[in-house]
């Protein structure tokens, strides 16, 4: 009688599965219910570094990166007239042969391994089942969890080739007519990108809710249109493990306000130590940001009192590193010198050094009153000061 893989003793099967890369585990899970149950129990994949969800136009990409560079893979779920197409891709780093003078530059190679059409299965169903499996396979914390809303990003310049803004559901003729920009009216028969995104986020929320434990993630990144989308996902992240929160918008420029009344009350917000909030303006009281050791935010309006509060908090916080604010309005800028004392200045920028009692470090305050309207607190040794009048260059 021929031996099947299912006849192998469990200890050996576990050993085999531990030697499989994530994509193989992903596939093995779909082979039969014995394997599925076994993988869910044993959780043989321990080297997941990051999970990334890319929401495209009528397609979702679930990207899994492992600590092994060669072990990174992604699964693409695309709409198909019969149901959905699931394709498995392997992404690895290839080093080209070194040129005589230049060091070799690694290039990413993408290899499509398999493509299966799941008849009568909706994209969302296929994705959520697999996503559930991925988070179920998580044994220890993962470094990154990212959600990108690629479909809501502004279409790029028509002369540029942008595969993420177009879907394969469009024919070449359509592309010729519209260039690389597909007008939203083309989606009249389908979901709009907005409604599709909402459905994906609802599905993500549902899956995370049904998961027994909170997702153990160190660094959380999410593209959102409104804060309520963030509130769908962030509460399901384990605050004990969370180190950094990065929030961005698919839109490039910060034009909208992020209403974060509920967000700042979350445990996840309070426990995180690093924040990057791009593409949005916030008008929350500055006190809600003072626990971060490192932060980058766009604040609609700042005043000298806020800066004074920050200065006092950062001087007493040993782990504080850097806080950068881009602002629209600076109320009472004429009171700067009155508040902080004499500064080094050229009229466009002001620069202060505040000694920290009992520490080798000092607190630097860099205020730029002209474009790019930025304020930056930096805590570091006095010997390595940040560049005056420039907040992007850290050190001179």
């Amino acid at each position: 009688m021929t031996i099947s893989l299912t006849d192998i003793p469990e200890n050996v099967l576990a050993d085999i599965f531990r030697k499989c890369d994530f994509l193989s585990i992903f596939v093995l899970r779909k082979v039969c219910h014995q394997f599925r149950n076994f993988i869910d129990d044993v959780k043989p994949c321990t080297d997941i570094k990051s999970i990334e969800v890319n929401v495209g136009i009528k397609k979702i990409i679930l990207r899994i990166n492992s600590y092994n560079v060669r072990g990174s893979a992604y699964v693409k779920y695309e709409d198909h007239p019969k149901g959905c197409v699931v394709s498995y891709h392997k992404q690895g780093m290839k080093l080209p042969p070194p040129a005589p003078e230049l060091p070799p530059v690694p290039t990413h190679s993408r290899l499509k391994l398999k493509e299966c059409i799941h008849e009568g299965v909706e994209v969302m169903t296929a994705f959520s089942k697999d996503f559930e499996a991925v988070i179920g396979a998580q044994r220890s914390k993962i470094e990154f969890f990212r959600v990108h809303l690629v479909c809501l990003r502004r279409p790029e310049c028509p002369t540029r080739n942008s595969p993420m803004t177009r879907s394969n559901v469009f024919s070449k003729a359509d592309r010729k007519t519209f260039g690389s920009v597909i007008p939203y009216t083309m989606f009249s028969n389908f979901d709009t990108p907005e409604s599709f995104t909402l459905r994906v986020l609802n599905e993500l929320e549902r899956t995370l809710q049904s998961h027994k434990q909170l997702l153990r993630v160190e660094n959380f990144f999410m593209e959102v249109i409104q804060c309520k989308q963030l509130l769908q996902i962030l509460p399901h992240i384990d605050s004990q493990y969370l180190k950094s929160i990065e929030i961005s918008s698919p839109k490039i420029y910060p034009t909208e306000e992020l209403k974060m009344d509920k967000l700042v009350t979350l445990d996840q917000w309070r426990q995180a130590r690093k924040l990057e909030l791009r593409s949005f303006y916030v008008s929350t009281p500055i006190i809600n940001f003072l626990h971060f050791n490192s932060a980058e935010v766009n604040i609609d309006s700042v005043c000298c009192e806020d800066l004074k509060t920050m200065q006092q908090a950062f001087i007493s916080s040993e782990k504080f590193k850097r806080f950068k604010i881009a602002y629209n309005n600076f109320e009472g800028r004429e009171n700067l010198v009155k508040t902080f004392g004499e500064a080094e200045t050229n009229g466009k920028w002001y620069f202060w050094i505040f000694p920290i009692p009992g520490s080798e470090n000092v607190l630097f305050l860099n205020v730029i009153l002209c474009h790019p309207h930025t304020i930056c607190f930096t805590r570091c040794p006095e010997s390595t000061p940040p560049q005056k009048g420039c907040v992007n260059c850290h050190y001179t």
């Binding site: 021929t2 031996i3 099947s4 893989l5 299912t6 006849d7 192998i8 003793p9 200890n11 050996v12 050993d15 085999i16 599965f17 531990r18 030697k19 499989c20 890369d21 994509l23 193989s24 596939v27 093995l28 779909k30 082979v31 039969c32 219910h33 498995y88 392997k90 391994l113 398999k114 299966c116």
Partner: protein, 188 residues
Amino acid sequence: MSSTEQGTSSAAPAEPTTAPESAAAPEVPESFYYVHGKDKVVHKVSAGALQHSALIHGMISNLGYTEEQAKANPFPFENIDGDILQMVVDWCNQHKGKPTPPEDTNLPKQKEKLFDLVLAVNYLEIKELLTYCCKQVAMMVKGKSPEEIREIWMIPTDAEDEAAEKEAKKRAGKEAAGETAAAAGDAK
């Protein structure tokens, strides 16, 4: 652990067991043991080669056979095919006293042989060879779709499995009904 050590010391003089084995090996004449599989073909294997197998090593330590006793009583492994046992013996001989390389390219590529080898190696507790075999199976899975894996290893789909289970239940039910009917007939 302590019982194994005692067993060893009772079978052999106390001094050589305490000395490092690799250093003592060239001086002391090597002892041989005998194993046979399902086909009853006896293989002569050195104690050094058999050290790879935790199971056989334990048996040797516990039994404390002399050369003659070992020859007269080959270790029987009735659950292992002759050709598979030969493969295992060859591997043990090849890697006797050597550090094991990170990969072994000599493993069988046919899945039936490989699975038999996996079972045998697992039974004999040869850790390094089991690692190679598991790697080989993992390599065979790589890049395959669920359908291909099902086909290659003849794994039924969940639907097929359920249907088979239902049929088996039906059969069992029918048989039980037949038996009760027969018992009722007997009672009458």
